[in-house]
């Protein structure tokens, strides 16, 4: 029996795809440039996470305040890791943090915040992920720094580390607060 290249090609291609799929499962989130950077936030309007009263919409991000938008989900393990940092930022009143709850069953999202604490001023529940698509959400967690007039100054993919917060997020937030015309991004 003779093997021929064009008969082997499909299985060879599949082998490569399978390796990537496996690799994909364990990819580390990395900081990436975003196509949305310096662009206005996408238009959206979401009801709050179960048990909270304030929903989130693009209006709220243009209200003249520098904000962080944190994309989180209860099923996301790295979100749990970064959560204490958000609580700390919230406690220090460094910046207003809004939560975008991505593809999460309502009850579990509520339980997540009840259990770990709620650092968010407003939350938006996006169970279908439609709004997440507009935001270019790729891997949860993601954190966006949004300017006073509702432009995206920074997108951080993956869990925030204490170093990220100290060296990147906080300096940027302070710069944006100090000078509204600041064009600085990360």
């Amino acid at each position: 029996m003779k093997l021929r290249p064009h008969h082997i090609a499909p299985v060879a291609i599949f082998a490569i795809v399978a390796v990537f799929l496996y690799w994909g499962l364990y990819l580390n989130p990395r900081q990436i440039p975003t196509a949305l950077k310096s662009k206005p936030v996408p238009e959206f309007e979401l009801p709050p996470v179960q048990g909270r009263s304030l929903g989130l919409s693009s209006e709220h991000l243009r209200a003249g305040e520098v904000t962080l938008v944190n994309v989180f989900a209860s099923w996301c393990v790295p979100c749990r890791i970064e959560h204490p940092l958000l609580m700390e930022l919230h406690a220090k009143e460094e910046v207003t943090i809004h939560g975008l709850n991505y593809k999460d069953p309502p009850r579990q999202a509520a339980a997540f915040l009840d259990e770990l604490g709620d650092p968010y001023s407003r939350t938006g529940a996006d169970p279908t992920g439609r709004v997440g698509i507009d935001w270019g959400v790729y891997g949860v967690p993601e954190t966006f720094v949004v300017t006073r007039d509702g432009r995206i100054a920074c997108k951080h993919i993956g869990p925030l580390t204490p170093n990220d917060v100290r060296d990147k997020i906080v300096p940027l937030v302070r710069a944006l607060k100090a000078d509204p015309k600041q064009e600085k991004t990360c």
Binding site: F20, L25, P105, V137
Partner: protein
């Protein structure tokens, strides 16, 4: 007690599936009839056991048995009956059970209707089918047990995602799964053929109806899903190139190619190796779709981390099934005998072109869906591929496909006459040009989509009708004879004409609604008036209303045309208490000419409401066209060639007297 019966039945079905995977296969290899004969009763029993299992879960939903975790998570005692039932498959665990049920249903169908299949082929098909079943039953039992109990039981459930509480979506998953899983038949036949090392026209005649059945359901499932997105998401869009949508579209494209290449195997005994590969790929894409949807790997690489057992299991199964079958293909395909030769310009040639374009389109969607993942793995760069990419590459592939679609059926087998075919299509060409000119005149502006789309519509629809009139020799022979010929036309020929007309209607719907849609967004106050296309919408205010398990803000629009009253539209913004969520219910007045579409949003606190109003010409034809395609498929399926025990078998056997039964 009843959930335990369901659980137990599923375990028994798994054991039977294991037996069915090995015994008939070994029996076929050794030529032991008694071992081969295990397949049929095992397949039927397996289906019955899965039915018991599925019925038990449905029962738990019907009586709202909140000691079952799955019911607690996805149901609520106040939910309307239909959504209690659809809640069974509106979640991960239940949908896997439905998947298994449909898989065993197809296996049982082979056992019941496969009486005239060669015994060894039937045994092998049943073995492969059971092997797939083993994988999915293990997956369900080990990582997603729907019968998990909860103690103590809560008083009430969490409710079903309100977006899923919708009649369109209630039947979307079963249709889709009938399609996805239906392709497992083509796969099992392909693997069985590879093991036997033999593919002949009789094989194709067996595979075609199963593929066609799956294709019809998948077409319906996709159309239903897109219709749901259209009226429920309230965006006015109907296709978003979302990974989950792509997951169902890829098997459809590959399955459409398979349908057509199987014709070549059946009629001309050619393209055998390619058809086998397509059969494997189509089902592999169904599995990949399941992997994508069930793991969420593409929307979010990290959703995986939540339950690694599930993701790794599906991926392992995917690698085993797809990798294994492609490896088998690599080893066995060279031994398949080459079939009939043909000129490039022939019916076969046209079908090869169809396959090339569909396969490329499918590959494109696959790349667009997986590209973000691959790029991230290689360079660490993250991108998202959106509609611009798909539109840019998909339309150039569809244009030649539709262009060739009108010509192909007019070409003869083996050696066709292109000039003659084009000569016969001159009226279609003239009609296409006329429509393009009208579209260009209507549009006035540069975008070429409208004239191009309308031309393709005209070309395709008239082309299909011309092919049909040629067949019945309309206007060339007396009308009575044409009528007699039409009656004598095989159902498969009717099916083809109808399905191709359906494609034309879809093209019409897409072109017209994308080009001539009018959209008005803004805050409206009561008594305010907005002109949308040829219509005027008058906002008459909004009020709170109560539904069976939700409250809603309901707006009222009076629609007028030229001062004449047309209709009222009542869009709603619904708020569900369990689980707490808001949904948008667009108010749509569909007609065959245009849809009026209204959405109402939150109040601005000053008496105004955010509104979105659309006028979408001919948009319904997207779904009508899909239904027509589906009807064409079923019409073709009713052809007597495919009916059980039809004389095909004798004819097929007579045509192949020299080929002895293997084993």
């Amino acid at each position: 007690m009843i959930p335990e019966i369901g659980h137990y039945a599923l375990v028994l079905a798994l054991i039977l599936a294991l037996v069915q995977t090995f015994m008939p296969l070994v029996g076929a290899a050794r030529g032991q009839v008694s071992w081969m004969a295990v397949g049929e009763p095992a397949a039927i029993a397996q289906f019955l056991l899965c039915l018991v299992s599925f019925a038990s879960l449905t029962w738990a939903y019907l009586v709202s048995d909140f000691s079952v975790l799955n019911v607690v998570n996805n149901s609520h005692s106040l939910k309307p009956l239909i959504y209690k039932i659809s809640g069974v498959w509106g979640n991960h665990e239940g949908s896997m059970l439905l998947w298994v049920l449909i898989l065993t249903l197809f296996g049982a169908a082979v056992a019941v209707f496969g009486g005239n299949l060669p015994r060894a082929l039937r045994a092998r098909v049943l073995s492969v089918q059971a092997g797939i079943g083993v994988g999915f039953m293990l997956f369900t039992l080990l990582t997603s047990n729907p019968f998990e109990r909860l103690n103590p039981a809560p008083v009430d459930g969490q409710g079903l995602n309100p977006l899923l509480q919708d009649p369109g979506l209630a039947f979307h998953p079963p249709m889709l799964y009938l399609g996805y899983v239906g392709f497992s038949m083509a796969f099992s036949f392909a693997i069985a053929a590879l093991i036997e090392g033999r593919v002949d026209p009789a094989w194709a005649r067996w595979v075609r109806p199963w593929t066609l059945t799956a294709w019809c359901f998948l077409t319906g499932g996709i159309a239903l899903g897109s219709w749901w997105a259209y009226y429920e998401l309230g965006w006015g869009g109907w296709w978003f190139w979302d990974p989950v949508e792509n997951a169902s579209f890829m098997p459809w494209l590959a399955g459409t190619a398979l349908l057509h290449s199987a014709i070549v195997v059946e009629k001309r005994d050619a393209l055998k190796s390619w058809t086998i590969l397509l059969a494997i790929l189509t089902f592999s894409l169904s599995l990949l779709g399941t992997f994508i949807v069930r793991s969420g790997v593409l929307n979010s690489v990290h959703s995986f981390a939540s339950d690694p057992a599930r993701g790794v299991f599906i991926l392992g199964f995917l690698i085993f099934v797809v990798g294994g079958s492609l490896l088998l293909y690599a080893i066995r395909a060279p031994s398949l005998k080459l079939g009939g030769l043909f000129q490039p310009m022939s019916r076969e040639g046209a079908l090869v072109l169809n396959n090339l374009l569909l396969a490329t389109a499918c590959g494109t969607v696959l790349v667009g869906t997986l590209y973000p993942l691959l790029l991230d793995a290689v360079t660490g760069e993250k991108v998202s591929v959106g509609p611009p990419f798909f539109n840019a590459v998909f339309i150039p592939l569809m244009v030649p496909l539709i262009g060739a679609l009108a010509v192909g059926p007019l070409l003869a087998w083996k050696r066709g006459d292109l000039a003659g075919a084009l000569q016969r299509l001159k009226f279609a060409a003239a009609f296409a040009l006329l429509l393009a000119a009208i579209a260009f005149w209507l549009e006035g502006k540069a975008p070429l989509l409208a004239p191009l789309g309308m031309a393709l519509f005209g070309w395709l629809v008239l082309g299909a009708l011309i092919e049909w009139t040629e067949r019945i020799r309309l206007f060339r022979v007396p009308l009575a004879e044409s009528f007699a010929r039409a009656r004598g036309l095989p159902r498969a020929a009717w099916g083809m004409t109808v399905a191709h007309l359906g494609v034309g209607l879809v093209v019409l719907g897409i072109t017209a609604s994308e080009t001539w849609q009018t959209e008005k967004l803004g805050i409206m106050r009561p008594a305010e008036r907005v002109t949308v296309g040829p219509y005027e919408f008058v906002f008459e205010g909004a009020r709170q209303v109560a539904g069976p398990n939700y409250t809603a803000l309901r707006g009222r629009f009076r629609v007028e045309r030229g001062g004449e009253f047309v209709t009222y539209l009542h869009p709603e913004q619904r708020r569900y208490p369990v689980p707490p969520m808001e949904t948008t219910e667009a108010a749509i007045r569909p007609t065959i000419f245009s849809d009026l579409y209204a959405v109402i949003g939150e109040s601005d606190g000053k008496g105004g409401h955010a509104t979105r109003l659309y006028h979408k010409p001919l948009v319904s034809w997207i779904w009508i066209g899909s239904l027509v395609m589906m009807a064409g498929g079923f019409l073709s399926l009713s052809d007597r060639r495919y009916r059980v025990g039809a004389p095909v078998r004798r004819r097929g056997a007579a045509a192949q007297p020299a080929l002895p039964q293997k084993a």
